[in-house]
Amino acid sequence: MAALPSESARRLTPSATNKEDMTLNAATNNPRRRRVSAALRAPAVATLLAAAFAANPSVTSVASAAPSPAPASFATNCGTKPITMLGYFETGFPDAIDLAKLFTKQHPNVKWDVRQEPFAALTQDAPLWMSGPNAPDLIRIPTWSGLVKDHLLKNMDGYYKTFGWDKFPASDLAQLRVAPSGTPTGVGPLWGMGINYSMTGVFYNKALAAKIGMTSAPKTLAQFDALLAKAKSDGLLPVEQFNSAGNGGLIFPLQYLMADYNIASSGSVGAINKWVFDQPKATFNTPANLKAVEHLDQWIKDGYFNSDANAVPYETMMSRFEHGQGVFIFDGDWESGNFDSHFPGKYGFFLFPPLTAGGKQGAMSAPLTYGISATAKYANCAAYFLNWVATNPAARELNVVQGGSNPGGPPNLPIAPVKPGTVTAQTLAAGNVIAKDDGAMGFIANATGSIDAEGLTPAVQKLFAGQETPTQLLQAVQAAYKQELSAP
């Protein structure tokens, strides 16, 4: 099953909507209150709003009394007593469930009560579930800031020391560190862990690439430009890309280009991560980013994308690409397993080429993040599970072979061998390049909770339709970012 970018690399880092240090008040929250479904009829908007937020804003709950401290001492296993862990996993990601099953196989006293929820429900309802009386032991966390600020997450610094997570690459954990006030990201205590790590780049249709004379991955952006131009002149669609509302796929090439121009101007992708992590004085409106948007704008004007991109959702893009439409797509390695199993030998992957040959490369890289509720019944077992996923050979093999994902963990641990020449082999190799170049970036669409919906996606849609200049795009995104971060 095709994993959505929104369910994987995207939106994994915190939302930051409120700056004040507040206490919780979830005394009457229903932990199972579901998201507002498409059946919401707006005459009842007021009613449903009230129903969704049934908590009394003036009441303070027990859960809010104090931030969760890092546990000082605890069991580093799941014991021997039979327990049932409550897990909230993301719909469409069977790997997490398979890992849980494998864990039970190795630890028979641990059973799982897994509830699968779509990404949107996890985003919207995690605070309600986690502040309720039956808080999940382990939960897929799309956005961190609000949960950290509201003291709903378990501080994992104690586990970090005990399990030796200092041996993990610091960059893998950076997106899981959030200041106790909710912002910025990248600093402060550890609040979660990834069960695997995704990375983005360019997929290509090997048959069509051969037609335009592509014998190896382009080594520079200029070479890639030439390939796009050749595809266009040969009557092929150079890039099939999704960019429908709520699913702004042009953000992918935009951030690749931003990485190139930022590396060219400052030697690293640090400025981009600074913005993604809501660091003070970070701005989107920089000369390097302007060059990136101008480059993307030129691609749009040259007609390199499908003309209906603004109405094409992710699934349609994948379907079209798998049916031979488009030489390239900009996407992530969560599709590696799909390509290898359903279209062996037909597709390839390369990292977005740098401005100069041999230069550093950047890619969005994000963990599939899980956290532990501050009031979780079996927090220690949940932490043990997260450590087990990253270090147990069988779990690591499952992540690589079945999911096509990098299992993370200490770099000295082996990665299960995959068949040479497969897309998975290419994406895993690309991960090493990004690690060497220190080119891992948080996804810009994750910078705040609604920057994607309220800022980036509308902006790239307007750019695509010629309704906005590159300068206006930068200004609009930065304005939306500032507005959200300064919201009361």
Binding site: T47, V312, E454
Partner: protein, 313 residues
Amino acid sequence: MLSSISETTPRATGALRALTNKRARGLHLQGWLFVLPALAAYAAFVLWPIVQVVRYSFYNWDGVAAARWAGLANYGTVFSNNQLLTVIGHAFELILFFSGIPVVLGLATATVMRRFVTGRLSSVARTVLFLPQVIPLVAAGIAWSWMMSTTGAIDEVLNNVGLRSLSRSWLGDFGTALPAVGVIGAWVLLGLCTVLLSAGMSKIDATLYEAAQLDGAGPFREFVSITLPGLRQEISVCVTVTVIAALSAFDIVYISTVGGPGFATMVPGLEIYQLAFLNRQVGLASALAVVLMALVIICILPIQWAARRGDQQ
């Protein structure tokens, strides 16, 4: 005697009045007892939540943490934020499609059906027209999204009849997205209006049409002088229901465009949802919900008032 009558009558009248009052009070109480279950449910699930939303609108609140008093600041934001005002404007644009097209087309369709379609065919026609009301809006939104894509039925037809220059991604084009969403709404509501208006037409006395025909009135004159005045109540209901649907649109927009491209189809219902559940600005979302509720009332009251006034005349 007179004096005794004059003495007893007020007493008797008083007793009668007391009895009547007692019975009236009993009936009154009985009435309330009958209403109570529904009233309790209405109060619990409609009135109280509305009160709560009004209350939330005076706070800054993320839905979990303690709220902070904001006074009228959230309302200030609603009325000063250009994007929120544009969103409200979109809702009014949708009235043209959700209300105008179904009512006008519904009148035309019902009239044609009354004059030319009878018997079993009439039932079949009504059923077919009413079907969109039965289909879940989510399914309708998905089906229309497919039809309006560049590989969908609409562009296929345009391409095949030599109008390739007109074909486009209807829901992805800034110029056509909102009207395209409006067309979906019009399709959904047309059947409801047609059935309501057909039912209304069947109540109009047939002799009125006969008399008009004897006086030499043509179909148009019949329509203007008999059908339209006879359907005042039904038209009022149609306009009320469809205007509310337009102002509070959510599901069709959510499924077909999610408010895009850009903010071209963003409507208040969807904006409230995004503010509350993505931005976690429950106070601002509640303020917009209250404003939306007020707008619906402001739009509906004149329609109801005009319909009642017409009846009294």
